[in-house]
Amino acid sequence: MANGAQHTLTGLSGWARRLGGRHRAQPLALSERLEERLQSLSLDVAGCTQLHTELPPLLAPFENALNLNGARRCLLPLLLLPGHGEALLIRSPQAPLPPGTEAFIGYQFDASLKNGALAGRLQLPLPASDHLLLAEPLPGMAGWLLLLTDTPLDSAAERELVALAAALARGLAIWSAHQQRLEQAVSDERRAHAAELHDSLAQILGYLRLRTSRLDAHCSDCDRPELQALAADLSQQTRHAYRLLRDLISSARLTLEGGSLHSALAGVVREFEQRSALVFELDDRCPQLEPDEGIAIQLLMIVREALCNAVRHAHASHLRVQLLPDSDGKLRLRIEDNGQGLDDSRRRHDSFGLGIMQERAARIGAQLCIGNRPGGGTRIELQLDGPTP
């Protein structure tokens, strides 16, 4: 609201008060105070570090300030943050929602948030309840300010809700820009670190790997078993360390090509296709499921490892990467080849790679199964747990 308008309002409210109707003057006086409080809300939101814990207490006073006499109400920001596959519903743990509310919100708003198609204000009755769900778009952001209430808003309360959404959006815009700068700085630092590792430690470890392997070969010719065991162990551990380091470097360098798991996956398959005579098939059946960036990167690293193993050791002619939707909307990644399958000797040979894949899966809370494919070959299957609430 412009300054001139504020003055007029103050003047009006003073005039109204002098006329004697204190109960009539109340909403106008409240608006003025609300303006100030909204400004400080913007600042507080901009300074948040953990949105989902810090935002509910910041919004709680406004739930009471809204001009809803005694009605039950709850404010719920719903945001699609950059780099996240699912919209984030911010809710206070102290205020329980009617059962099914979250699923209803997800169903109603998910598609419009992801497609960037935010219409004007929405008002939806909450199924199996006497509550209304009012949704005010956050200007300039992929998000809504939702209000759960059992009383329809009057025009004053509606105005307040719009002002609240605008103030929240202002704060979030600053917060989001700050977060992006932080993430960019972290990612730059990580790459610089990876480049340093690559130039220093990886060179030395690579050299050690060659030397210890030679030492191992020499010792296996001598007749001192304790020396043989020592050299074999040294060589094995050095190889392991080298693999871990290379993996660390490549994952720090990896970015999500095209900004989505699906385009990046196509990129990885193309890359391997350029370097072998195998037939690659990418069967992506859930372009609408987009996991968070962190999860997507781990998935890509698992696919890379699996493809690399298949090209190097599987003696396969056909490789298939599938992203399949589960009946409960979860993502399943399957990589299979028609090669010789996993026997125990190969399992040992690849043990570093398989171990690294298992660790990556565990890091994103996924189940990874490595086994033989019915009909011959290897099958790696990864079951992602659903989107994190």
């Binding site: 296709e273 037939v279 069967d283 059946r285 372009p287 002619s317």
Partner: protein, 258 residues
Amino acid sequence: MSARLLPRLWPRADTRTPVPEQLLDSLDEAVLLLDSDARILYGNRRWHALIDRHDTAGSQLGAYLHPADLALWRGLFEQLQQAQRPAPIWLRIPCGAELHWCELRAQPLQPPHPWPVSLTLCDITPQVRADQVRAASHRSLSQLVGNLPLMLYRARNNRNWSMEYVSDGCLELTGYSADALVNQPRLSYGSLIHPDDAGGVWQQVQDALHRQQPFELHYRIHHADGRLCAVSEKGSGLYSDTGAILGVEGVVFTLEQR
């Protein structure tokens, strides 16, 4: 739907003629009938076997296609809406974790009425798989040849050494791209050879061809960047069964370090 629709379309002439539905079910191609909303009015037995479901009447065909092929299908459907006769398309139909590649053709059932349209889906998975294997082996070979740090060639036996094919290694060796050297009247490989060496090269190759023996040459070429570069070449002639010389082929490389 099918029971009501089909007898009207194909009235039974006599009892020896097979019932149309029997005929459709006997086909190895999936046959579908769609309305103007792309909803399935009828599907024959092969269709239901293809997708391993029986309750498809009334649902949209798009629901049974691979998500990556939906745009292709919508394109074809738009052509049908504009009463055009679309060209066949290849698309994937998921069945469990497996995929069937199908060639889809569509045409109006009773022209000039645009709707309903009849569709045939022919399972071409084996052909597509064979194509993929061929494409992969071709891709692999051309990448291998392209990445080699030398130039493979096939040329006509003339003093210009007009090239029919040179590998991508040509760029590194001569400074000219493969396209610039193949069948270009302006630039020929012969013109790159140092004038003092060109006569010897021609003579040695002709001697070898005459004896039907392979040849090995060492000479200098002008690199595009102005350097004079010493190269080695090994090659042999291409002969017809009657001994006529059709051309020469071989490999040119340099031992110089750039």
